[in-house]
């Protein structure tokens, strides 16, 4: 029997009975962690992400050569013991460039998501909480932004302004928030009808306080899943922009531009210049997706897919 959310909530309240609320909260947290840990794929994703961030943080120690060191006579050498992922057209060590590029790509993805979440959550919260013309105005604006294919919007914006890491992050951040805004709006609209919100209002809490203290924590599960999913999208978008030559600019390496720089050597047989950066993007996006999926299932067992 499928319970509607309201019914399920009621049932849980009944089950809880006289157990102190704090204990319930703690128990629920552990249940979430346990559900996540049971999902093997999600755990693998989380593990890989930790490794990737560690590699990015310790990049200066891990890279075996300076990422921009040009060695003459080492043009397009295949992978070997000295150069694990070969060398590029300028005799630079591809492994070191990918480690450094990972630092840039992961940081760019993270910064973009910070912007997406800040804009998306604040606008979505306002729309959901206040309703009325604030809501319809903001929602029509998201309708407009969502009607243009995201990548087309990004390419237009990125190419018109000075290309580079900063432009890339800002452009991705400012174009990608509508989806999150809508989801947060939906959550807030649903939550603001709850009794505890009415109670808070009755004792005179300000809208800002209600949103921050009562609504936000309850929408947190949805927000964290959104953030995870957008981390993978943002990395893919940054790579796509850099691949088109509109994102991070050489000499600063990012996975996308290392790949773009290397692809012209494909015909000459230098596959490693294309293969490894693409593999890095693939593994990162895959891990984020696996983790995001696991998080969604763990945080919201009602929506469990399997």
């Amino acid at each position: 029997m499928q319970l509607s959310p309201a019914q399920a909530e009621k049932q849980r309240t009944v089950e809880r009975g006289s157990i102190p609320l704090e204990a319930v909260a703690k128990k629920r947290q552990w249940a979430t962690v346990r559900r996540f840990a049971e999902n093997r794929l999600a755990v693998v994703g989380l593990f890989v992400i930790i490794v990737l961030y560690a590699l990015a943080i310790f990049a200066p120690v891990i890279q075996r050569y300076p990422y921009d060191e040009i060695t003459s006579g080492m043009r397009n050498k295949p992978p070997s013991w000295d150069h694990w992922m070969g060398t590029d057209r300028n005799g630079r060590d591809v492994y070191s460039r990918i480690i450094k590029g990972g630092q840039i790509s992961l940081a760019a993805g993270f910064a973009s998501v910070v912007i997406i979440m800040t804009v998306g959550i604040s606008l979505g919260a306002m729309a959901g909480f206040f309703g009325g013309f604030v809501d319809s105005g903001l929602m029509r604006f998201t309708d407009i932004l969502l009607s243009v294919p995201l990548l087309l919007l990004l390419i237009t914006a990125a190419s018109l302004f000075e290309p580079g890491l900063r432009t890339t992050v800002i452009v991705i951040g400012l174009s990608s928030w509508p989806g999150t805004a809508r989801i947060v709006r939906g959550q807030f609209m649903q939550l603001k009808g709850q009794e505890y919100v009415t109670a808070a209002r009755a004792i005179g809490a300000t809208p800002l306080r209600i949103m921050a203290k009562h609504l936000f924590p309850n929408a947190f599960a949805v927000i964290i899943v959104q953030a995870t999913i957008w981390l993978s999208y943002a990395i893919l978008l940054e790579a796509s922009l850099s691949y088109l030559g509109l994102g991070v600019r050489i000499p600063t390496p990012s996975w996308g531009n290392v790949l773009q720089d290397g692809q012209r050597e494909l015909i000459a047989g230098a596959w490693w210049l294309t293969f490894f950066p693409g593999l890095a993007i693939f593994i990162t996006v895959l891990s984020f997706n696996l983790m995001g999926d696991g998080l969604r299932d763990a945080l919201d067992p009602r929506h469990r897919r399997r």
Partner: protein, 324 residues
């Protein structure tokens, strides 16, 4: 199917007018807020030494007027069906340029979508009916893989491996248009593989969960209990209902197609809208950029309305509210 639905459709379409005007303002503002101008972009280095020529050319293109005035001229012409001439591309009328490339993109994307669905739907069904089997696990893992593969990476690897190393298929699409039917198929294979893979992954995953949800409904249990064979239950009762949410999901995927087309059409030198958009953006060809984004936006909005309409028609549980 009464007059209510027509009122609903009319209302939805009327509602698109302010949205499209909004979109035109957003895009126009974005483009004109950027530093630099098309004339300098076209002339490159030579612009600095010919300030008079630059000024004259800007006047010719109407770029010397204030931005709001330029907008009014432009939108006024569009409302009369005139999208203007491109700044570059030999000053071809914008609509003619788009017309030349429209079918090329639609053909490719439609085939990819169709093949994607034709593979994804059966895979999703089988995966759902054998939940947790080895096959189901393989499908789940592969759909994660399919969604995470960067399309440009896959395209390049396929080009070099199948196109160059094995020499089986053409790498780029030059000559595609003049080729005859059996020969022409070859040009489609690689781009279609790259474009349909994420569709397969996405739709199969969705089909699986949609099917699982339906299988556990009471009416399916009832159908089974009254002695219907497993196939009749599955295809007579469950499948039809599991397919309904697919309509929405397909509708949600369509907008992103033109974005993906930009990259794939670059790699395969496919003469479509994505390629046109990319070139126009690089040359700051304002009329072309604006027309492509505006038409893409209009297309997406119309598809959204159609999806909702189809949904009302196929799902009797959905009722129109406020249509009267």
């Amino acid at each position: 199917m009464d007059s209510g639905i027509w009122a609903y459709i009319a209302r939805r379409f009327l509602f698109l007018i302010p949205l499209l005007l909004g979109l035109s303002i957003v895009m126009f503002t974005l483009i004109h807020a950027a530093p630099g101008d098309p004339v300098t972009a076209m002339m490159g280095e030579r612009a600095a030494s010919n300030p008079e020529f630059v000024e004259q050319r800007q006047k010719q293109l109407g770029l010397d007027k204030p931005v709001p005035v330029q907008y009014l001229y432009w939108i006024g012409n569009i409302l009369q069906g005139d999208f203007g001439k491109a700044y570059t591309f030999n000053r071809t009328p914008v609509l003619e340029l788009i017309g030349q490339r429209f079918w090329s993109t639609v053909q490719l994307q439609f085939i990819a979508l169709l093949i994607g669905l034709m593979i994804a739907v059966p895979v999703g069904i089988v995966s759902a009916t054998r939940q947790y089997s080895k096959l189901d696990n393989v499908v789940t893992v592969s759909s994660f893989v399919g969604l995470a593969l960067p399309n440009f990476w896959l395209a390049l690897l396929l080009q070099i491996w199948i196109g160059v190393k094995l020499g089986w298929l053409p790498v780029i699409s030059t000559g595609q248009a003049s080729a005859d039917f059996p020969e022409r198929v070859k040009y489609f294979i690689l781009p279609v593989i790259v474009l349909s893979l994420p569709h397969i992954a996405y739709f199969a995953r969705f089909m699986r969960s949609s099917m699982l949800e339906v299988i556990n409904q009471d009416y399916v249990t009832v159908a089974r209990a009254k002695g219907l064979g497993p196939n009749k239950v599955l295809y007579g009762h469950a499948l039809r209902n599991a397919l309904i949410p697919m309509v929405t999901v397909i509708g949600l995927q369509l907008p992103q197609i033109l974005g993906g087309a930009v990259i794939i059409e670059q790699i395969f030198a496919w003469p479509g809208l994505g390629d046109l958009a990319f070139k126009a953006i690089g040359q700051r060809d304002y009329p072309v950029i604006l027309a492509v984004t505006l038409l893409a936006g209009a297309g997406v909005m119309i598809i959204n309305v159609l999806v909702d309409v189809v949904y009302v028609m196929i799902d009797p549980r959905v009722k129109l509210t406020g249509a009267q």
